[in-house]
Symmetry: C2
Subunit: 97 residues, 2 copies
């Protein structure tokens, strides 16, 4: 369990690798809590309580023997930099959602 | 440009979203520099010089009007936690590579 004493928000990067049968469900849940970046990738500031809800929702729809979600949990403001090569799909391809 | 004075290594998370015609090339380049985590996702400690080489290699093979790579660049040791739900594919599915 993450010790979150004194910390309300964390910055979460979420990358999922689901069987295509369930991939739309992961997308829909991700959009409720975070910002879509590109295929299978979300990011955003989130409260610790909402992060726990996000994980619970994903667990309900995923097949844990086949699907995978990786989270990177960072203290807000600790990313040195993020950088995109090529298309910034979060700006240009809302129609994918 | 990232100011890297006094910093030799950074921790890089790399997520790519390439057209399937070029996706194998991205996978091959990612493996040269970072650790494969799951579909389209790599992570690892890397020198700043190697990170520049990684980006240059990707730029050579990608179609910048269609493909996308997102990097998160972190000071080493600044990730609070990473967490996997479901399968840890980096441990179990080397055959995907």
């Amino acid at each position: 369990m993450l010790n979150c004493a004194g910390r309300d928000n964390v910055f979460v990067i979420m990358a999922y690798d689901f069987n295509e049968k369930r991939v739309q469900k992961a997308l829909k849940i991700g959009r409720k809590y975070l910002t879509w970046v590109q295929n299978s990738l979300f990011e955003g500031e989130i409260t610790f309580a909402k992060f726990e809800k996000l994980k619970a929702e994903l667990k309900r729809v995923m097949d844990e023997s086949e699907d995978s979600v990786k989270f990177y949990i960072l203290e807000s403001g600790k990313i040195l930099k993020s950088e995109i090569l090529g298309v910034d799909k979060s700006q240009t391809t809302g129609f994918f959602l």
